[in-house]
Symmetry: C2
Subunit: 330 residues, 2 copies
Amino acid sequence: MNKREIAQTITASRKSDPGTEGIAFAPINIALCKYWGKRDELINLPVTSSLSISLRPLGTKTTVRIAKGVDRLVLNDREMPQECQTSQRVTEYLDLFRPDPHTAFHIESVTNVPIAAGLASSASGFAALALALDKLFGWELDSLSLSILARLGSGSASRSVFDGFVEWHAGEDPNGMDCYAERLPCEWPEFRVALVEISSEQKRVSSRTAMARTVRTSKLYQGWPARACADLEELKAGITERDIVRVGSVAESNALAMHATMLDSRPAVLYWKPETIKAIEKIWAIREAGSTLYFTMDAGPNIKLLFDERDSTLVEDEFAPRSIITPFFA
Amino acid sequence: MNKREIAQTITASRKSDPGTEGIAFAPINIALCKYWGKRDELINLPVTSSLSISLRPLGTKTTVRIAKGVDRLVLNDREMPQECQTSQRVTEYLDLFRPDPHTAFHIESVTNVPIAAGLASSASGFAALALALDKLFGWELDSLSLSILARLGSGSASRSVFDGFVEWHAGEDPNGMDCYAERLPCEWPEFRVALVEISSEQKRVSSRTAMARTVRTSKLYQGWPARACADLEELKAGITERDIVRVGSVAESNALAMHATMLDSRPAVLYWKPETIKAIEKIWAIREAGSTLYFTMDAGPNIKLLFDERDSTLVEDEFAPRSIITPFFA
């Protein structure tokens, strides 16, 4: 099945009773065990399962309305040109759900995260859009189906449908019907994530391009699936025990391994800045001094610190982070 | 066979007519396709073949004399304490060749490369010692046998027995009798190597430790042998054609892949300094501007530039290198 057939299959049995608008919010998420490599590029099926933490209140709030004429996308109060890549990706996504070719959608999105700075803005964007469409059409889909619909927009959007710790199952079905995310049944009120901005420059290589190049050219990548699989199991055990040392050290190691596969690609992809190395050295020095501070990175130069609330003051003093997230804030 | 049995086998059929002293020089070498991982730790057998360029006039000159009492090692006019690691490695190596337990050796070595700064000083040291012992005992061994003897001291020393481009064959024999280096029949007078010092700090993790940890803990390492094998073939083709673009780009990519396997290790090994990233960014910017400038790195933060003589002025102006080597200086 192609994307449209999958979307139609999922929504076919549901009533479709469009209201005037659908509104939804979805958080960004950062992976502790990375999604790195697709086994199917057309419908966003990953090589391995992955695991993330959602970073509410950071995310995207989207309103979708049915209209006539052409699709319109207003992002943070700015009308996006139809030719821009973002508008085109959104229009292609809306094509999956358009009841007839004359129906257009007007989308208004407000996001409080920097776009394309390695902070998964497309994940929260497509998750919010899928949730908003569900409300607009009144489908009342279950969360697993919504996760699949979000995935069709952007792989990691499948995880942004949920809060908390989320596992995205790679699945085996060639049509991806078993390839969805689920929230893990764990509350961990002391868990903290701090966003440390190293550079806000637009990336020279998109993470999508870096991922595809890695799978195509890296010989070391052949060891990645086994590593991701082992890391995922260790993370889940660590999360169950709320063990920051175990969770932090696996997440950090997994992120370094992802960057390792990029370095092995041809041409090499190097997202690190000199300040990235400085930050890593600083984190390791703080850890040697006895604190339980770890980091992860996505496909970009920025650092996300993982720690227990008791180290919040240390993190604020040493890193002056852009923000500290409390994922399990009641 | 253990090391001593191998050494005895190689020297057994030769006359042994010790003179008063043996003197020899061996250059340092840098690998363009790295030696990264041992299949036998006891007799230094590598997982893959590797390829290097020798950097004469940088290297070690060693004089060895037979004496009574205990071994003595004088390094750059400094008597080394018997308990230090260097003295112990040398004494263990000399044990392989000691005609009887009462024979001691006095070693005087002069080296013009910084010790333990990722510049393979142990490679030139053990190669020079093997060559000096050959002269002292008058064995007149062929260069392949000398390469094996050097290897027993330090894996990469097998390559420092030669000048120019050198291939070290991994071999298959469990006793390593087919595991030696050979000079490639290529002269390339325009080939240049510049040593750019990023940091002269002693490394916190020795390359020996990093290599063993990588083989033991890195899952990505399983892709390394296939990569090294492909890189070696491409390098040999590039060297035959004297194609700086081909040789430079494979060498650079191979070095990045080696560092990638270290990042994937647990705990991760990161030799890079902030200035390493700055230097890499600068090299890539210069290359985008049209120059054929490449780099390689060993297990350390320093950068070695690979280029054609026509870019010597550019390299001097932009990097103020510690030295520029002309490996094929007549």
